[in-house]
Amino acid sequence: LYFPQMEYSESVFVEQPAGPLLQIHALKEEENETARFSLFKSYPWFQIDESTGMLSLNRSLDRKDFALLTNGEPLKLKKLFLQVAALSSEDHKHYVRVSLTLINATAPPCSEVKPRQLCFREEDFAPHIKENKQPGLFRNLRPLPLQQRCPHINITYRVEQDLSPLGDVYPFELDQDTSELAVSVPLDREQREEYSLLVRCTVTTESMVTQVDQPLLISVHDEDDSAPCLRNGSDTTEAVVEFDRKEGAVLGRLLVYDADSTPIYPRDQSRNKYAGILLTKDTWIKETFKIEHTFKETNFNHVRGTVHEYKLVLNRSLPTTESRSLQLHVLVNDTEFQGPGGSLVLHFNVTILPVSIVFANTSFLFRIQNNAAQFAQIGRVCVENCLKFHGVSITYKLEPADKNLTAVAKACHSAVGIAPGQEGIVGILYVSDPKTLRRHKCLELQYTVTAVNKLNTKRARTLLTITPESTGRAPLLTSGGRALEEDCPLSCAENRLRSDCEVCGGMGATDGRCQWRQGSGNALTTNYSTCSPTLQTCPDGQCDVVENMNPAICPQDCTKLDVIGGHERGFLSGIKAGYGTCYCFPGIKCYCEKDDISEPMCDDVCK
């Protein structure tokens, strides 16, 4: 048994005479079912006929009753919820809720009742019919209390079907005497899940004939009566593992369709449940791969269905040396489909290629100004295909190519360092000891750079040459003959004016001089003016591993401290946008201020 609507509702006026209120219907699921109706809680005013399901008012509601029902609160109307039970022959009870709006006023005379109210209930829930079930009556169109109260008004109904795109004739019949609608044949939701009828009601009084139309939308409820299918998709796909060897990497995906709808709620009891099982006993396979299954609603010619996606995913990171081919089989099973063909098998042809750690170029050549500051970035080294790697961690090591160097040459070679950048994929070369470079006027530095894969110590080597160059620029002197640089701050970012910036060096400056970026715009902008060690990498919204070595290098990308003045912070660090010029006192705070200060204003109060 099932009720053909989510809830019933009707209104009851004070002093409304006893009589029929609502016809409750229960439709059969099985041929031999019969329904015995009852009220879950009995009330002095309401009763239901055990066999017909007619809910009626058996004595009218007076003002005292209404006060009792509203706990004495001065309300105009009160919602009372009844629970109607329908007991089926196999002693199974089903409930539906009836919401009665009790109105603390007497019913208006029939002459004041509008045709629409005579024809249709105020608040009605759309009916639904379960697919593949027995035909039967499911709805009484007529508001029964008004039928009783205004017998002299003749009401007739006609039901018309809209222009159905599928051209089919709707399986519904209207009993003109009882105004009850019936479904005449079992329905198939996978054919059509909604019927849009037009109910035409004609109201005839002594003086007037009025016609009132109202659409009626009947939905068809689903049950799991469709098997999984591929809908001319494939059950096999290739899955290649090469550069992306990281846990969680998606290697391949296959789709399975189901004409049934799959509710995602309630989550744990979701109907039409699908399982995807990897058919293997091999522990290596079980530890290395897993199947991820998701589903979502889709549409098969105006009817909701479901598309299930099965993804083959790496369950752990694979070493670069791993190399093999295998075929994986996945059993897809519609656990609730009773009929044949409830499951099918998907196939993933998996090929795992080894990844070699080699340097493509036979050697690396870099140049660096000999007045480069500490932490000036020289360049990046990277093994072949490194930018495609995921889940492969490489460490880079720098050693002088010549084992027996002089002390000075050794010192020169130790003036350059290498740091792991970008999730340990590249090696960033930087100046670690600029003074040594300058003091010893170091010439060409020859290194062997070794790339080692952390997981299996596979390594690769190549030559790397760094040639320090002189800028040929004489240092700027102060009026007193001292190198201007000595008055400069440690960090380029501290310079607020272009004039100071371009005469100073600072940490990270590649050619010994800071570089000024002239901003634009009069409001907050990502293109704010600022003084940088190298505009190539600072500011670029990335606080890279070398910039992160010292707060004085590039606070514009790395600061997490206060920024005063109009600004917008970078997502996790740095200044994404600023007003005018942004300058910083590393380790303290940064400022973003108008940069056209002609002369600092210092009135008598500020001295």
Binding site: A523, D562, G566, E568, G580, V605
Partner: protein
């Protein structure tokens, strides 16, 4: 000139001059006035030291200044591009001669 105390002015965020564009307004409170009664032995001594040349002039301040001692909580607003912004320590809460 009145003694150091809290003054207030209703201004729009754009009028703060920080670069934010928003028509929202706030009460901007600032400290203004003289600190006659705020001087300590320290100030007298320092003034004397500067006069007697023991301490270079122009470097150390021998008078208290009328400044905020605490600031209002951070102020958040919606700017004219419908982005939310927050400004810290923009308005004084209490003033003092320090």
């Amino acid at each position: 000139l009145k003694p150091c105390s809290l003054k207030e002015l209703e201004v729009s965020v754009s009028e703060l001059g920080l670069g934010y564009q928003s028509d929202e307004t706030l009460l901007f409170r600032y400290c203004s006035g003289k600190c006659n009664a705020g001087r300590r032995n320290y100030d007298l001594t320092l003034e004397h030291m500067k006069r007697s040349g023991q301490v270079k002039k122009g470097k150390a301040r021998h008078k208290p200044c009328c400044r905020p001692t605490t600031y209002d909580d951070a102020f958040s607003f919606l700017d004219n591009n419908y982005e939310y912004r927050t400004i810290k320590e923009v308005s004084a809460k209490e003033c003092g001669c320090i």
